[in-house]
Structures are given as structure tokens and as C-alpha cells.
Amino acid sequence: MKQYEYMAKAVLAEHGIPIAPGRLVDSPQSAFKAVTDLGAVALKAQVLVGGRGKAGGIRFAATPEEGAKVAGDMLGMFLKGYRVEKLYAEQKLPIEKELYISVTTDRNTKRPLVMASASGGVEIEDVPDDKIIKHYVDPLVGVLPYFGREMAQALGLQSSLFKEFSDLVVRLYQIYREKDAELVEINPLAVVNGHLVAADARLNIDDSALYRHKELPMVEEGSKLEQRVHEIGLAYVELDGDIAIMANGAGMAMATIDAIEYFGGKPANFLDAGGGASVEPTAEALRVLVSMKPKAILVNIFGGITRCDDVARAILQVKNGEGIPVPLVVRLVGTNEEEGVALLNREGIQAYSVMADAAEQAVHLAKEAR
């Protein structure tokens, strides 16, 4: 779960990392008031995408009137597909220099990774490798102050910046651990009047750990439909094609959309109905697919723990209930296959046993329906 900038900054501030004075505004009036109180500000769109500055998501206002006007322009605009509903008004900083720092999990070494650079202010992917300092953390030891000092030294920082940076590394790692962060990033980490200030912040929380972070505000991401499917506990991603798919297991679902493209079709979604889903969730998942009004639906099941007869019952429940008004292709193999196929055949639905044949047929039927 991603946190908005203003939320991430609140967490930084709680952990003693300096941020500029700022507040959330959601109307020209509140922007007017913010500039009156704070002086010249940066108005920053609160959206969950990077590169927002270049896209026009950060603008400045020197007077309250200008603040109201700029806020009026920005609120309601779309940034990379996201509607801007809130702005963060932050006192404008006289930035002398921009650094970068983040803590994330390195999948290969299976260790926390602290990255820093003296070339901050741009996306870290655009910084050449030799300008990035990478220090790995032994999670069973953690980050002690010396770890921060070594990084500060590697960056060539001196005197008060050296001390402030060393201290900040320790605090940032604390946030990473305590908040179950996937990523905590300060970019730019600004030098203002010789001191460090977090000018922008990202904080992404591990979804699997949300149960122990009731203190964090919930941020929903994705389309309404994606949110609805996630609520029934299934993994779902919207794509831009017209063949809806459902499979059991994440790998199978990925392979299924790959197969659709292989035969020249376009998948409408990714849907993992679960490795051992029973009748009800499977039926619910199928209802979602029907509601998308695709040109065809492909159900691809390899029954291991999932039982083919359960899947067949789910399909029939939807067919005889709400109805399935689009071509349906079913591939059903594995545990209780005979029973499942017989159930479907009785209601006039053919079942494929080979994944390739089923995918090809779904693509064919979708083309006919176009």
C-alpha cells in the first residue's frame, strides 16, 4: 500500500526527520489561507505516481491570491491518469543541493538495502550506478550509528551535514522496519541553509503486514472494479483487451494471458481465482468477468487442490442464475475432472482438456464477436 507524500512526511516527522512546514489543501480558499500563514509555497499534487514535477504536478505561489488561483487550476486535473483531489502546500525552500536516500528490500541478497547519492532530485533509475552508494544491512544486526557515518563519509559530507546524515540513516531504517516498508525514500533530500530537509518522500507498506499497522491511513489504489475484486480476496489486474480470463494460481493466470496474446488475442484482465478456491468465490469471480462485458471468457483450470466439479458447479450457478451472455470457453483438467466435465456437458457446455486449444478457441470466438 502506497502512502501519499503528506502521509509519508508525517511518519518522517514522527521519527525526528526534518520536513518543511506544510499542510493539506483541498480548495482555493484553503490554499489562500495556507499561503497567508506559510508565505511562499510549493503546491504539490497528492497522487501515487512518480515524476509528478515534470507532469505539471508541482507549482509555486508567492501570494495568497496566486495560491488560490493555482490551487483552482490544479484541483480536479488529471496527472498520468490520476485525478488530483488534494494538494500539499509546503513552504518554499531555498534549496542549495539535492541528495537522495532510500531503504528498500533487495530480493537477491534477501537483505535491506540503503542507497544514497549526491545526485538527488531525479528518479534514481536515471542516476548512473557509479554515483549511487549501496550499503546492505544484516537484518539480525540492524543499522547502528557507524553504518550511517560510513555512508556519510562515502558521500563526502562534512561537519554538520555528516552528523545529520548519519543520524538520518538510522532513523530511516527504523521507519523501514517498524512500518514494514517495502520502500522508504527521500528524494530530494535537500540541503537548506546548511541543514538536511526531506523535500519529497515516498513510503510503500508491505500489504501482507497491514494487519499490524492499524495506525496508518488506508489508501486504496486501482480502479473501482479492481478494488471490488480485491475485497472478495482475489488477485485481479485490469488490462485493456476484450477476452476476460480466470485461472487458478498466479502462475497459471499469467500463463493464460500470455497464451491469449500468443494466439493474437487481447486479454481484458488477470484473475487468480486461488489455488484451492471452492464454489462460491469461483462463482463470484466469474460474475465479475461477466460484468466486464468482454467479447469472450476463458476459464483455465488445472485442478490440483481445486476440484474440477466445484469449478463446474460455480460455472453452472452463474449460467443458470444471472446468465453468461458471451461466448464461454472452459478448460478443465485434474482432480475430479470427469465429474466436472460431465456436469458441464449436461448443460451443453464443452470442456477442453488442452490449454492451447482452449486459448486459441477463445481468441477465435472473440474475433467473431467483434
Partner: protein, 292 residues
Amino acid sequence: MAILLTQQDRVIVQGITGNQGRFHTRQMLSYGTPVVGGVSPTKGGTYVEGVPVFDTVREAIEMTHATASIVFVPAPFAKDAAFEAMENGIRLVVMIPEHIPVQDSIDIVNRAKMLNVTVIGPNTFGIISPQERTKMGIMPNHIYKPGPVGVVARSGTLSYEIAFSLTQSDLGQTTVIGMGGDPVVGQTFITVLEQFRQDPQTRCVVMVGEIGGSAEEEAAEYLSTLGKPVVAYLAGRAAPPGKRMGHAGAIIERGKGTLDSKEKALKVHGAEVVTMPWQISRAVQEALSRLS
């Protein structure tokens, strides 16, 4: 032969009295796994499927000389369970649960490394050695048969699909192992390939990868050391960047973890990369016939 798990292992089930633990204890026993005990705090003294249940792993080891443990406890308790197993001398831990916090997994796998414990998972279907008639996992029993192919996969049902198609083509397996779908897991393709290298009966290896991370790229450089033919299939060709495709680890982040990069790396180092899962069996057949 097989890798990592043999008939010499003595297996306990942590969380044996839950629905999943109970069901899969029955399945594992019926396949031939030497399940010698279970652990479920406060349920000590009872039996599940004829297997004695203990309150602690320590007691279970004292009474049964267990060497391996499969963990079925709910995700919030999984770290505790894994440490209980490792600190008491279990040498192979299979972590079935999905949605274990990554910070917990980091602690588990780093401690495992120190103690020289093999952790499989989390978020895995487990490991099965058809040659040894033994498994620790949740995979269906009937889709495997003994033979010369080693399979290492990141995902469950997709590996079932592939193992079954191998079996139907009369291509049996030495061991099929699931690394797990999480970003941080105990095994890498390299650690598993190294096991397959040392197993004389494994003549060909099938890698089932997917988008996200760079485990496949890292493994590619190991292939020349492996010295055995590798057939790879990678899932997620059609996946958009920035979206998690079911597995917590299956995501293209900031341009990293794309299928293209994995495919190129594997091909450069001599793996046969097929486009679709149903092309695997034929590729394995051809690789094996070139060997003989």
C-alpha cells in the same frame, strides 16, 4: 535419488490440527512421506491421522528425532514457527503460508543461512521427490512420476500443469520444488540448480520463472557450471509494469524484472527458452535425446 528431501528425513507438521494441516498430513502420509509428528500448542497428547501431536517443536524432536518441518500456521505466526523449528535443530523447513510480512521472511532466511538450515518458501507448494515417494507440500499426488527431469518453479498450479504434461509424455521427475511466489524466499534458482547438479539422476532441468526480481538473470550465469541442459518457461509476457500479478513478487518495478531481460540472459547462457508452457515436454525430450 532426489534433492533436499529423501526417505531418510523425518517430518513434522507445525499447525497439524488446522484444516490445511490435517488435510495435507493425510495426503503426505498417503504419498509415502515419513510424517512422524505434529506440533500444535495446547493440543499435545492428541493424534491426527495416527500421528502424535506435541505442544512444542523441542518436544517433538526429542520424541521423534524429526529432521524436517512443514509449516501450516497462519501468516502472522509463521515467523515464530520457523524460528522455533530452526533454533531447535530442524534442517529443512518448508513454509507454505502466503502473506507472511516480508520483514519476517527477511529475518527467517537470514537466520537460516547462519544456522545452515534450508528454507523452502514462503508462499510455496513445497517439494516432492517422486523417486523417493516423499513430499512436503500441498501438490496433488497423482500428477508426478519418477524420472530424469528436475523441476524448479516459482509458482504452484503452473508447475502442476508442467509436471503433469511431463508425466503424460513419459518424462518423470527426480524432484519438483517450488521456490515460492514472495519477493523474499529461502531458495534461489542457483541454490536449487546446484543441488540438481550434484544429483546424478537429474539429467535435465526445467525452470519455471516469472516476471519480477532478477533471480532468473542471476541463475543464467550459473548455467555453464550446471553442465546439464535447461529448458525454461517464463510467465508474465503480457503483464503490464507496476502491477502485482497475483504473487507478491511478480511485479515489474521501475523497469526491473521484465520478461525480456530474463529471457535474454537465459538464452545467452544456453538455456532453451520456450514461449508457451505446452512446448516444454517436447523441448525436454529433444534435450534428453541429444544427451544419449
